[in-house]
Symmetry: C2
Subunit: 701 residues, 2 copies
């Protein structure tokens, strides 16, 4: 068993020296015929070896009857024979020296139990030989830079991909083809394309990691239905971010119906959708909701300019369009900040009835004086401090005369601002659009889509700029591991969390009413009493909690009452006594939690207490571990945030103490992955100074 | 002064018997030249009379030097002379018999004070003569059915509109042209198009009302920046709904920046955006956020099928697309309900590894057996009970052979279901798309956009089906009008609301501590005391409220204390004493309010009390008056609704009493429009049985 090969091993897939096609067909539209046809069409420079039991000549090439007859092991083997014959063939080739195999054949894990066994064997072959296996049940791949296309997708019938910078990987063959066709239709160039089929070895994470290293790839697009290895997935995305390569991902299965369909469609586990949202946001990935959005962002990203500021300047020749774009900017989080006063005054002097604040609007007056377009655009570029400038020109470019003048006027305005993101919103023919693109503009028909794409580029820019956000804090040396399997009482859970650096309200275990009174006197009245028993996780249900006890008599009575009720409700429970804690008032109740997500492992949740979490589902998530930056972002993300920030005349609470607790919890949860089902710190009370856990529950595994 | 002419008066604009162009130009690309050129190109059958002080021949037609020289008044006059000359010309023509004028000239209210005076005069001319005036500062209009285009938009250079069923009106000339170009590019046919310019007479409401009556128009599209006359606007939209004509509206100015730009750009008042949202939803209008969405919904609506059920059936040849579409369906409120078990079993028997629940997926197996497409599609149409069925076929139609087979397979499946909404998601050439459209399919490239459009058609279907929702209740005969100008105390405000049929907590005015004790004893303890003074609207600020008073002594002390504090805080206030009311506990605090919106007049707000309204802005609006159906919908719309419906183990509260109060308040507010600035009923406590106002404030005008 060798260790998993690095991303560079995928080179044998994307650009091998030699290729054999097992199950080759003379018929160029059949599954075994298409890859040979495409390899020939693309002018593959190495040997192409068709293998077919009938031998003879296949598409003009001499065919071999068996793999053994080949002069040497092909670097890459394409497999298009029925499932029962696949494993032996791949194993024998891999042992002879084949470095990669692309398996078109279906009838594996997606089909039945026998297929699952065959697929397991493929996994083993890959692991043992280091031969990288794509599929089975996949549509293959292509490398557009070299015209190399070992695939049987029929979408190449209507044209090969244009070489370019987009690397694409898809867990769905059909949808991967669909995306490729759209990409080609929009004249976006690609580097490589790969469909993972049943994901037995090469998966989305491997492919993204390869693209992150591949100098030909600048933009990464991925269609994902589910992931199996969070660490590789996340590290591949981190690798892409470090390389400043934007990743645009479509992860389907948001809805209940959609997720059910995703699970039935693939063999993978679809993680809870909010966790995907959180994880992808953490990793700087643009998650696209629609195919159109995916293509829009991919197209925009190929331009290679990622503004770090969210300030957007807008130039229009129609006030209506400016309003529309300002609305879209707000929707997508861009700031249509006003121009400096002086610049506004100067433009106003040039055209008194123009809008000059931002959006700036030349009005139809530009028909009479094209210099207005130059002056307005140059001013907004030079003086507005905008990361991106969008110019709305409707269908003017279509008009030969006015369009020509407009192009010249814009060229004059933008000449001094290379590297600035310039976006044109216009209605034009594809040929005209290409001319404008060649001149350095991103071009969109729909102004709202243009604004959406600009916002995406800005988010990439900020993600690239910050690099990694603040690292997770170190796990305190004193942190005690969660004991596996043991049922934990509240006191033990809080002691563990305290060892991990999370603030916990002082408390004392009292075994008798006398001890309770002593503890209360030492802690200070009023106090709270709670039954202490590892066998009673939900204390209020048995009447095991009494609040606001003001004196010794009240404490004594409460102790006896609690023990009495607990004994009656849970006769078999071992009762340790009662926890005595000071009654904490004021501040805000929050909930910190950790769940073990099927896809992403320990995931930390944050929300405000009461109706916020329960009724409004106003909570937010992050994959553990994370640092203070992410924790601060979580706190600001919930809708109830104003309640922590001085809303309704209340004091501003200690958000920094809360952030530290969240980061510490994330580190502790990550260190204890696999040892617990869930952690709940509820309530975690945030005060004007400091924040403490008042109750906690750890469900061990 | 005549009363405002009805919608039929716009016929003189859209299809007059004779046209004169004042300021006609021989140069066909100039403002005064284009309408003549377009009228000639379109073969206008009536006389076209160019008017230009130079006389001679203009574009081959004999020109007149003045309007007076014309043989008779043109039914419609196109005006393209400088602003100072406009009013006299229009007035003289109108007096001679001209029924409509389209004023291209700028330099009116959008320019300066003199322009505003001229525009006011145009308003007067229209009102006095009944001559309908479009503009000034507008781009004109066209009637595509007759090739009649009195406009100077350059967008006609690239082709005249295709005749069809879409009527379009725009408050922005440039954006109206942009929308027209997009409509033509997408091969959508139009009936009429009109830009309102400065809206001096003919406005969006007039035009929508005309389209509602116009037999050529089946779908109405409007671009709106602000409205001035809510009654005409709303009744035009109701007229369209009664005629079962869907209205798709883009109302820009959502964002703060956008709204500011909208106001500076036009002379109209942009209403608060949430109120627009509420009003348009109430009227069954589809409010489009983006131009693309507008065109998508308009395109879909031209198909003329508006399903009343939101059940969506999905057929795919790729599982991934099905998941994506199911996600989109959830986002847009469609129900991807499963197929009946028997139908699922039958499809499973045909293709064991197919998805058969909904989405149903033939998998790539359809390549081998096109009958699967027929069988799956027919089954979902026949047995699923779906209002619409969407079929995803990626780029298959492009392939001559497979595409041909697919088309035949679909035709076979759908033949027995005329009138059912069938939507194809496919990548095809425009020619192929037209073939499919001719065969009865709606065609979209992007599956998410297809789902969005289906949802819009479904909302239209429901809106048409319900007709008017339940009518507003009658104003109670005992309802007293809000006294104009007077400052109202709490007691008076509540008495007015009680007269309008809104439940109010019993209370009693006590002028002395003794009276307070008597009242408390009669109401039952505990009670609440509140200072009674029309001069103290915010009672808590002066310490004028005391809660939960349990006995006579407490009441007596509280009375004296309140009066004392009030006297000190507001020495000039007239103090009537204290209101004594029972302390109401339990139930949920809600807020009912009415604001006077600049665009829509009295608008009723509903929300839950506390953080919901204040921190979370979790409130909803309706234009007053409305009936119980709308009131019930409001209650269910807020996110905090579960708190009224038994969340967190609490009892279900009396939502019907709440709905009645909302409807009664809306009727009272409408009847008192203009008499108040705002009404606040806060809190309005909803209990398990019944609901009462505990405090109320009416700001009079």
């Amino acid at each position: 068993m060798t260790s998993r090969p690095g991303p560079e091993s995928l080179r044998s897939l994307f650009w091998p020296r030699s290729v054999a096609v097992l199950g080759a067909s003379n018929e160029p539209s059949r599954i075994g015929g298409r890859p040979i046809r495409y390899l020939k069409e693309g002018g593959f420079p190495g040997p192409i070896w068709p293998v077919n039991t009938k031998g003879g000549t296949i598409q003009g090439l001499p065919a071999f009857r068996t793999l053994d007859e080949l002069p040497e092991a092909p670097e890459c083997l394409i497999v298009a024979v029925p499932a029962p014959a696949v494993c032996d063939a791949v194993e024998s080739a891999a042992k002879r020296g084949t470095r990669a195999a692309v398996i078109f054949s279906a009838g594996f894990a997606e089909a039945d139990a026998q297929g699952k066994l065959w697929q397991d064997r493929l996994v083993k072959i890959a692991a043992e030989t280091g031969c990288r296996i794509v599929g089975p049940n996949c549509l293959g791949l292509f490398n557009a830079r070299h015209g190399y296309a070992p695939t049987f997708t029929a979408s190449l019938d209507h044209g090969h991909p244009k070489p370019g910078v987009v690397g694409m990987v898809s867990q769905s063959g059909a949808y991967g083809s669909h995306l490729f066709v759209l990409t080609r239709d929009r004249n976006i160039g690609m580097s490589c394309w790969l469909t993972t089929g049943n994901d037995c070895d090469v998966d989305v994470a491997d492919t993204i990691a390869y693209f992150a290293d591949d100098p030909d790839t600048k933009v990464i697009a991925a269609y994902v239905e589910g992931i199996k290895d969070r660490d590789r997935f996340m590290s591949a995305l981190e690798r892409a971010r470090s390389a400043k390569k934007p990743v645009v991902m479509m992860k389907v299965g948001r809805s209940a119906v959609g997720a059910a369909a995703a699970v039935s469609h693939t063999a993978s586990l679809a993680g809870s959708d909010v966790v995907y949202d959180a994880a992808l946001k953490q990793l700087g990935v643009h998650r696209a909701e629609t195919t159109e959005e995916m293509l829009d962002v991919v197209y925009a990203a190929t331009h290679g300019i990622f503004p770090e500021t969210n300030r957007l300047g807008i130039v229009t020749i129609s006030g209506g369009a400016g309003v529309l774009m300002a609305d879209a900017a707000e929707r997508y989080g861009l700031d249509v900040a006003p121009m400096p006063e002086a610049a506004q005054a100067r433009l106003k002097a040039i055209l008194p009835f123009a809008a000059v604040r931002n959006p700036v609007d030349t009005t139809a007056q530009f028909f009479n004086d094209m210099g207005l377009v130059t002056e307005f655009t140059r001013t907004i570029l030079a003086e507005g401090g905008y990361g991106a400038v969008a110019v709305f020109v409707t269908a003017i470019p279509r008009n030969r005369e006015t369009g020509g003048k407009l192009k010249a006027a814009l060229a004059k305005a933008t000449a001094d601002f290379p590297g600035r993101l310039l976006v044109l919103c216009m209605l034009a023919t594809p040929e005209m659009t290409q001319e404008y693109e060649a001149a350095g503009y991103l071009c969109f028909e729909d102004p709202s889509r243009a604004v959406m794409a600009i916002a995406a580029l800005n988010r990439f820019g900020r993600s690239f700029a910050r690099g990694n956000s603040s690292p997770p804090p170190a796990l305190p040396a004193a942190a005690r591991p969660i004991p596996k399997g043991a049922a934990l009482g509240e006191a033990e859970a809080k002691a563990l969390l305290a060892s991990a650096g999370i603030g916990v309200a002082p408390e004392s275990l009292a075994r008798t009413a006398d001890e309770a009174v002593t503890a209360a006197t030492s802690l200070g009245y009023p106090v709270v009493l709670k039954v202490a028993s590892a066998d009673i996780p939900h204390k209020t249900e048995v009447g095991g909690v009494r609040l606001n006890l003001g004196d010794a008599a009240a404490v004594r009575a409460a102790f006896d009452d609690i023990m009495d009720r607990a004994r009656k409700a849970k006769p078999a429970a071992t009762l340790d006594g009662c926890l005595v804690a000071p009654m904490i008032t004021g501040g805000a109740e929050t909930i910190l939690g950790v769940v073990h997500d099927a896809s992403f492992g320990p995931v930390v949740m944050f929300g405000l207490g009461g109706i916020f979490a329960e009724v409004l589902k106003d909570v937010t998530f992050r994959v553990a571990p994370f640092g203070l930056d992410e924790a601060r972002a979580m706190i600001r993300e919930v809708k109830g945030f104003p309640l922590l920030d001085g809303a309704r005349g209340k004091p501003k609470l200690d958000q920094e103490a809360l952030a530290k607790a969240l980061a510490a919890l994330s580190v502790y949860a990550a260190a204890n992955a696999g040892r617990f089902r869930s952690i709940d710190v509820n309530p975690f009370i945030v005060r004007e100074s400091g924040a403490v856990a008042v109750d906690a529950l750890i469900e061990t595994k």
